[in-house]
């Protein structure tokens, strides 16, 4: 009786061959499907990275529309390139006579571009003139070995008229330079709008429509019906002057990032100076001197916690501690340093570096600890066996072996500090700073901070400058990271 019953239950609960096959197929399909889902999540991450770079690059390489602020047609009847030297000189003279600050502008051009006088030299001329001494044209020009119209020889160099300065410029520049001078400084082409390269390639009609609109608006604004906005022309915003010029918030096309780059270098150098010895010192203390002890445990927990504190909190700490409380020291006034009003408060490179050092300290410590832990114990034992003291062991054996690892960690920390913005927004200031920092007590701006300031500018072309700055920043960071990776690989090979 019981046997048939059993068979029926078994056939009821065990699936038959067909059902099993079907089930396996379903499960395999499911597995395949999800495998692609998992793969796509990582592909999506790669895609985001690609889009990130693309979004920067398309703003660096753009097409721009330009219009001439002074219509060349009003300057001369002939096209500018056909004019002779004298005619170009006349145009310069007429143009600068017409504008209010013409004489000063022209003098600055003669001093800087023709004579190549430094700021100090210019100031000393101004000082001597103020002291009622006549600085003659002959003196300065012969000093620099430049040509000057002999009629002006005994006149004071800063009291010349527009016509005289124009004559000097005409004398000293050749045909081509003079033509460039007129097309740049007199005609003053201005970028009215820019479009990313992908839009130019795939969406020309919108750009043409926008240009027509801008042209119509400008014609009404300037009351000049012949005014023309150029066809879109290619412009790369990565240019040499990015490194050599300082920021100019009136002309995006001439804006450079020199001040910010120098600021970044100063800040990073000081940050390393503070953070590296302290970070490595702390790591040695934790790994070699008090390993596993109660103090080490407290410090370790603390470091782990600090590593997770948002960077802006460090910024607030720096603002309160270094900028305000220690203002006397960080502004340099305690040492009688600092250049007067320029560094009146504590928002200096020193404050920024100290704050940044606190921020990257946990990164350096944690990496240095790992490197020290990786040094084999046999080395230490051998050293002790030969009678070395603890410090001798650490200095002569542990540190040299851990060095590649420590350097890798330090480079990673530096690249973090290089790109860090939030801290410096609070500690520094994003107001326009155009003077290169000259020391730890200078006011400063750094590359990411300058980029932030550019992004917040209302004029759209500054976004292009910002993109160029970002490309520069990314290039620096990627090379730093590449160095770190190479170091790490070399290190791990040797350890094996």
């Amino acid at each position: 009786m019981s046997i048939p019953e059993n068979t029926t239950t078994t056939t009821q609960f065990l699936p038959n061959e067909q059902q099993v096959q079907k089930n396996i197929r379903r499960r395999n399909r499911q597995a395949k499907f999800w495998q692609y889902v998992f793969l796509y999540s990582i592909i999506l991450a790669m895609f985001s990275l690609f889009m990130l770079f693309f979004s920067i690059v398309r703003q660096v390489f753009t097409y721009v529309a330009i219009y001439d602020q002074v219509n060349p047609a009003t300057l001369s009847d002939k096209p500018l390139e056909e004019l002779s030297k004298e005619e170009l000189g006349d145009i310069i003279e007429t143009y600068y006579t017409g504008i209010r600050t013409g004489r000063n502008d022209l003098r600055t051009i003669v001093f800087q571009d023709v004579l190549g006088l430094s700021i100090n030299e210019q100031e000393s001329i101004a000082d001597r003139e103020r002291a009622k001494e006549t600085v003659t044209v002959r003196e300065i020009f012969e000093d620099k070995g430049k040509e000057y119209p002999s009629a002006l020889a005994d006149q004071s160099i800063i009291r010349l008229q527009v016509a005289d300065y124009a004559a000097i410029i005409e004398e000293n520049l050749d045909q081509n330079s003079l033509y460039d001078f007129v097309t740049q400084k007199v005609v003053q082409p201005l970028i009215v709008d820019s479009w990313p390269i992908d839009q130019y390639l795939f969406d020309r009609s919108t750009i043409d429509a926008e240009i027509a609109e801008i042209e119509a608006r400008l014609r009404v604004e300037k009351d000049d019906p012949t005014l023309e906005v150029s066809e879109p022309e290619f412009r790369s915003w990565i240019q040499w002057h990015l490194l050599t010029e300082t920021i100019d918030l009136s002309r995006p096309e001439d804006a450079g990032l020199r001040t910010a780059i120098i600021g970044s270098i100063w800040m990073i150098a000081l940050t390393i100076l503070f953070a590296l010895p302290l970070g490595v010192g702390a790591a040695i203390y934790l790994e070699e001197y008090s390993r596993g002890g109660p103090i080490a445990r407290v410090i370790q927990t603390n470091i782990d916690n600090l590593a997770g504190v948002p960077s802006i909190i460090y910024g607030i700490l720096g603002l309160a501690l270094f900028v305000r409380v220690l203002e006397k020291i960080t502004s340099g006034s305690a040492f009688g340093l600092g250049t007067g009003g320029d560094t009146a408060n504590g928002r200096t490179i020193l404050s920024a570096s100290l704050t940044m050092a606190l921020l990257i300290l946990p990164v350096i410590i944690i990496n240095a600890q790992e490197a020290i832990r990786a040094v084999p114990d046999s080395l230490r034992q051998a050293s002790y066996g030969l009678g070395a003291t603890k410090w001798q062991t650490v200095w002569n054996h542990v540190l040299p072996n851990a060095m590649p690892g420590i350097l890798t960690g330090t480079i990673l920390a530096i690249s973090r500090a290089f790109g860090e913005t939030a801290v410096l927004v609070v500690v520094g200031s994003i107001t326009r700073i155009t003077v290169d920092p000259s020391g730890p007590f200078s006011r400063f701006t750094v590359l990411p901070l300058q980029i932030f300031a550019l992004i917040t500018q209302p004029q759209a072309q500054f976004r292009n400058v910002a993109a160029a700055g970002i490309l520069l920043l990314l290039a620096i960071l990627l090379s730093l990271n590449a160095v770190a990776v190479i170091l790490r690989n070399r290190f791990s090979k040797r350890a094996v």
Partner: protein
């Protein structure tokens, strides 16, 4: 050999006789240099403790000032219009003239503020108020007609700070929830983006990818993690927002909005979540997987029903750390989310987070001792406590995993 020994013994042995003081001392010497070095090393370690103490003391101290400083609010007439000076007031004048027929409703002895100067009301006669100038160590300035007059209000209580939903310093309202709402909204979007993608990527890297594929894919995540946040902000503002505007429409989505900021923040925290989750999954012992395969599981079933539950505490830790990162993230929101400290959870709107507000306040002209300046520290303290708690929970959860399989 014997000869040599003989020669050796023939050499006159130098007899060294040592006095007690000259005895070779083999005991450990105290070396001054070593002590100094050890002291320096200890100091280096202690710096981190000092930093923590400094953060707590500085934030706490200045935040306390915030809760003690009286607020200032605009004085308004019955029609809710701001009352301003009717005529110029020079540096020495002790009377203050109001527009016709608008008395101000402040008690005598109350303090009022024009620009940065604080004055004390002595008497009020119709439109003319007699005041004592330059109270509370403020400097006396000349005030042109049309200057706003503000009256001293109550201090901000901690309860009001933590539960208020209005952040309007000019009327003395400091409710941090107005900023917290944006922080929550943006962090939520970021987590919604980053968690599934991060865990998916982690499962792929740990369970599916071969060693060589893994070694090629991981650097991409590392590059993503190394991009400065200001660049992400630029990405959100100039790329993601226009795309979203194209989808949703410019009328529905402004130039500054929480959606773009949240999405990009998700991309930013994705590497953190992916690499922490991957570590957790790889820490799951091989034997578990082999047992699952032995029972006939597919790769998917092994990954999701065996490995994932085993490594779940690591993934939860990554999730919490991701939230903490999102809450503390600054530049993306400062650039892309806008500057409206309003209480809202609508991702299409512009709103200001705690970090965004700190940036906006500190980039402005801040004079020390004003309540705006002090509010920075109160917000900072809130942020610090929130992220610290999240980080501690995250580490605790992660350690459960380690205990289980170590």
């Amino acid at each position: 050999m014997a000869n040599q020994q003989a020669v050796a013994t023939e050499q006159p042995t130098p007899v060294v006789t040592r006095t007690a003081e000259e005895q070779l001392d083999l005991r450990k010497k105290t070396r001054l240099g070593e002590t100094v070095i050890q002291a320096f090393l200890f100091f280096s370690g202690a710096i981190s403790i000092l930093t923590s103490i400094a953060i707590v003391v500085v934030l706490g101290n200045e935040a306390l000032l915030f809760f003690r400083t009286p607020t200032w609010h605009d004085i308004r007439d019955d029609n809710d219009k701001i009352i301003t000076l009717a005529s110029d007031m020079d540096t020495q004048a002790t009377t203050l003239v109001l527009p016709d027929g608008l008395g101000i409703k402040v008690p005598t002895d109350a303090k009022i503020r024009l620009d940065n100067e604080i004055m004390q009301v002595i008497s009020i006669e119709g439109d003319v108020v007699t005041v004592k100038r330059g109270v509370d160590d403020t400097n006396q300035f000349a005030h042109p007609s049309g200057s706003q007059i503000q009256a001293e209000g109550d201090t901000v209580s901690i309860i009001k700070f933590l539960t208020g939903t209005k952040w309007q310093p000019h009327i003395g309202e400091f409710g941090v929830l107005a900023l917290v709402s944006a922080t929550i909204t943006i962090s939520f979007i970021a987590i919604v983006v980053a968690l599934p993608l991060g865990v998916g990527a982690a499962i792929y890297l740990s369970e599916y990818a071969s060693e060589s594929v893994r070694n090629r894919l991981k650097p991409i995540l590392e590059v993503l993690a190394g991009v400065p946040t200001v660049v992400y902000g630029y990405f959100a503002l100039t790329f993601i927002t226009p795309i979203l505007q194209g989808i949703i429409g410019k009328t529905n989505l402004g130039v500054y909005n929480m959606l773009a900021a949240g999405l990009v923040m998700g991309i930013m925290i994705l590497p953190t979540i992916a690499s922490m989750s991957e570590d957790a999954l790889r820490a799951v012992p091989r034997s578990l997987r082999e047992a699952a395969y032995g029972l006939g599981s597919t790769k998917l079933e092994t990954s999701t029903k065996v490995v994932l539950p085993a490594g779940i505490s690591g993934i939860v830790a990554a999730f919490i750390l991701g939230i903490s990162r999102a809450v503390g993230e600054t530049m993306i929101v400062a650039i892309a989310a806008g500057a409206r400290p309003y209480f809202t959870f609508n991702p299409l709107e512009a709103a200001e987070t705690m970090t965004g507000h700190i940036v906006r306040i500190s980039t402005g002209d801040l004079s020390r001792g004003t309540i705006d300046y002090n509010s920075l520290f109160a917000i900072g303290l809130t942020l610090f406590v929130v992220t610290l708690v999240l980080n501690i929970i995250s580490r605790q959860v992660a350690s459960w995993l380690r205990e289980e399989y170590d």
